[in-house]
């Protein structure tokens, strides 16, 4: 039986890739992702993970090598963060458009400049449109479970797409949490061997990555869009099955104490943990406040969002990245767009905070909620406000 033990989340993520029987790991070190790939290198060196570990010379090559490995039918894993993710940028589009399943954990970190090794979501938001399935996790257990689910979702014949698991740098990667690592035999039962339908194989030659003229490019992109939208139902299916086998539930948007809540706060990733405590406090004070945790970022869960906000008056969205000179928080702007056509929708108030590792305490979340309620009543001079900045 699987047992719960105290594990550093990065180590547990590496273990999850091992339990998933990855064939190839190709990665380049960057803080705060390092412990994940170091652990994997160790597992391969000790023979615990039977895989090829490719210590590439850059993230551009890391992702390119993942593509090569996936194209011959290998189950492939990588991890990166911030500058590394940006260096991969053009390759990310290729991985999804050419339909190569793989799992990548992103230890979310702020983008330079100024160089900062600390956490926020500016790296994740910069790769929003790359066509990957993207899941934000809240704690170590979610990270482990979703690495395993990620392979199953991405490798499903109806999907065949790469999957990004976002976990906050340091706040998650470097903490020790009680984590239950599933038993290998259960993972084997849950996750069938990877069978890429048409791998590169001299026995059955295929041409991959042909030149797409205007005659075909639009159709390829449309196909990609439809396919990614469909990936949502497969994700739900996989999560359900995971729950059946392992007893842990995942959903695109998780609700916390939202019954009768007039005000909702929406967060992503590890911030949700502190936000829950803040909600408990405010509920204790008699405030009708609830929390939404957005887990499935791509494909975006439109129906689920519309359903969970329909009875609220105010929806406060906390972004950890800025879309400069534009709408401010990218998540907030998407949520506004998603709800625009709804007959009854809450006022949507956007905040940006927690940039470059700046902590938001429980009191901070309370402040954000109170200010959000105030803006909903009186308005703000700005499109969005930034929390805790020194002017």
């Amino acid at each position: 039986m699987a047992k719960r033990e105290g594990l550093e989340v990065s180590v547990a993520v590496g273990d999850a890739a091992m339990l998933s029987d990855a064939d190839v790991v190709s990665a380049y070190p960057i803080t705060p992702q390092t412990h994940i790939v170091e652990h994997l290198a160790e597992l391969v060196a000790n023979g615990e993970l039977k895989a090829a570990y490719i210590p590439v010379e850059s993230e551009h090559s890391a992702m390119s090598a993942c593509i090569g490995a996936s194209a011959v039918g290998a189950r492939t894993f990588t991890a990166t963060a911030a500058q590394g993710l940006e260096l991969m940028h053009e390759v990310l589009y290729v991985a999804s458009a050419m339909r190569f399943p793989m799992v990548m954990t992103v230890a979310n970190r702020a983008l330079s400049a100024p160089i900062s090794i600390w956490g926020d979501h500016s790296d994740a938001m910069a790769v929003r449109d790359t066509g990957w399935i993207q899941i934000f996790v809240e704690n170590g257990q979610e990270a482990v479970d979703n690495v395993i689910c990620g392979f199953r979702i991405g490798e499903d014949k109806r999907v065949l797409l790469p999957v990004m698991i976002h976990l906050d740098g340091f706040a998650l990667t470097h903490v020790i949490e009680p984590i239950e690592l599933p038993d290998k035999k259960d993972v084997d039962q849950f996750l069938p061997p990877f069978k890429y339908p048409l791998p590169l194989d001299p026995e059955k030659p295929v041409t991959m990555g042909a030149l797409g003229s205007p005659f075909i490019y639009t159709e390829v992109k449309w196909g990609q869009e439809i396919n990614l939208e469909k990936a949502k139902s497969v994700t739900l299916e996989v999560w359900q099955e995971f729950d059946k086998l392992f007893g842990r539930k995942y959903s695109p948007i998780e609700q916390y104490r939202t019954e009768g809540a007039k005000t909702l706060l929406l967060t992503m990733g590890s911030y949700s943990e502190t936000a829950m405590v803040a909600v408990d406090k405010m509920r204790g004070d008699g405030k009708e406040v609830g929390l939404l945790k957005l887990r499935l970022w791509r494909p975006f869960p439109y129906e689920e969002l519309r359903e969970v906000v329909k009875d609220a008056d105010t929806l406060i969205v906390l972004d950890r990245a800025i879309s400069f000179g534009g709408p401010g928080g990218p998540v907030c702007s998407e949520i506004k767009a998603a709800l625009y056509e709804e007959k009854k929708r809450p006022r949507i108030i956007g905040f940006v905070g927690g940039l470059g590792g700046r902590d938001i305490s429980m009191a901070g979340f309370e402040e954000i909620v109170n200010r959000g309620i105030e803006i909903a009543r009186t308005g703000s001079e700005r499109e969005f406000e930034i929390y805790g900045v020194r002017e």
Partner: protein
């Protein structure tokens, strides 16, 4: 008609993994290089192609010139994609998930994709020791985007980004020595080749495929469009590049240099330069400067090889 097959020494295989009917310009030396290399590579291989002329001319959807598995993703990452494919195959075979078939992974890239934007990925792949072959198709400029200079463009050549003008003789830098950079990685096999010497080219590719570990082959590929020479001159111009010592043919096996031809006397470089419009503007002084450099570099190479050449020309 009855199909007949001829066998014997010196008869070239009729295998054509790179099919005819591609869209290269007429007289393209690079397409010829690919065709010859593909014959030597055979069917048990996976090709990883960088963006560039050979990718574009061979794969306009829904057509393909490739009868063997082929993948193209980006411009600068052929060596990295090849690394992943090679490592993936080996891992799957070791785990019993794929039968052991000794499939060779071969990367193809232009001089731009190799000596400029793809150099880091190439260096990484060579250094890590992947069991693969990397073939640089050197037509001495970024041809696919319209004849812009690369670091492999020779001194004095006029290109669209190193145009000859009142204040410039064209390319002002000397051609980057990629084979030497490959040799510096201490890999088991490095060779230069040119389709004008087709048997030599195919022998070297075969040797590269048979060599365990990384092998690098640098093929000078005449581009009539970019070099502004006659479309029926690619063979002649390639031969002159070799005979003038501008592009010497040699191989380096486990660090041991060997010249591929025994040229007792080099032809003057002018014979080569005058075949191409890209050098038309060169003055006598510049030609002299080029001659001196070519002679010096060629002699250095001969010295490295210890003697002027191996078996006589096998054009």
């Amino acid at each position: 008609m009855m199909a007949t097959a001829v066998h014997g020494p010196g008869v070239i295989t009729e295998l054509e993994p790179f099919a005819p009917g591609h869209r290269a310009c007429s007289g393209c030396g690079e397409a010829l290089a690919v065709r010859l290399a593909a014959k030597a590579i055979g069917n048990n291989a996976i090709i990883v192609n960088a963006t560039g002329c050979m990718e574009v001319v061979a794969s306009p959807f829904p057509y393909t010139s490739w009868r063997i598995p082929w993948i193209h993703t980006l411009f600068e990452n052929a060596a990295a994609v090849a690394s992943g494919a090679e490592a993936g195959l080996k891992a799957l075979e070791k785990k019993g998930k794929r039968p052991e078939r000794n499939i060779k992974v071969v990367a193809l890239a232009g001089d731009g994709g190799t000596s400029d934007i793809g150099l880091q990925a190439l260096s990484g792949a060579l250094e890590r020791g992947h069991d693969f072959v990397y073939i640089c198709l050197d037509n001495e400029a970024y041809m696919n985007t319209g004849i812009q200079r690369s670091s492999a463009t020779p001194y004095g050549a006029s290109t669209t980004t190193s145009p000859a003008g009142k204040e410039s003789l064209g390319q002002v830098t000397w051609k980057k020595n990629l084979p030497a950079i490959a040799v510096a990685h201490d890999i088991p096999y490095v060779a230069t080749a040119c389709p004008s010497y087709h048997r030599d080219l195919m022998r070297k590719v075969t040797k590269a495929v048979e060599t365990p570990g990384p092998a690098y082959i640098h093929i000078l590929s005449v581009c009539p469009t970019g070099w502004r020479c006659a479309t029926d001159d690619a063979i002649k111009v390639g031969r002159l590049a070799v005979r003038t010592g501008i592009f010497p043919l040699y191989e380096v096996t486990n660090g041991q240099y060997k010249m591929s031809l025994s040229l007792t006397k080099l032809e003057p470089v002018e014979n080569y330069l005058k075949t191409q419009g890209r050098f038309r503007h060169l003055t006598e002084d510049t030609i002299k400067e080029i001659q001196e450099r070519v002679t010096r570099e060629y002699n250095k190479l001969v010295e490295l090889a210890g003697k002027p050449g191996g078996e006589t020309s096998s054009e």
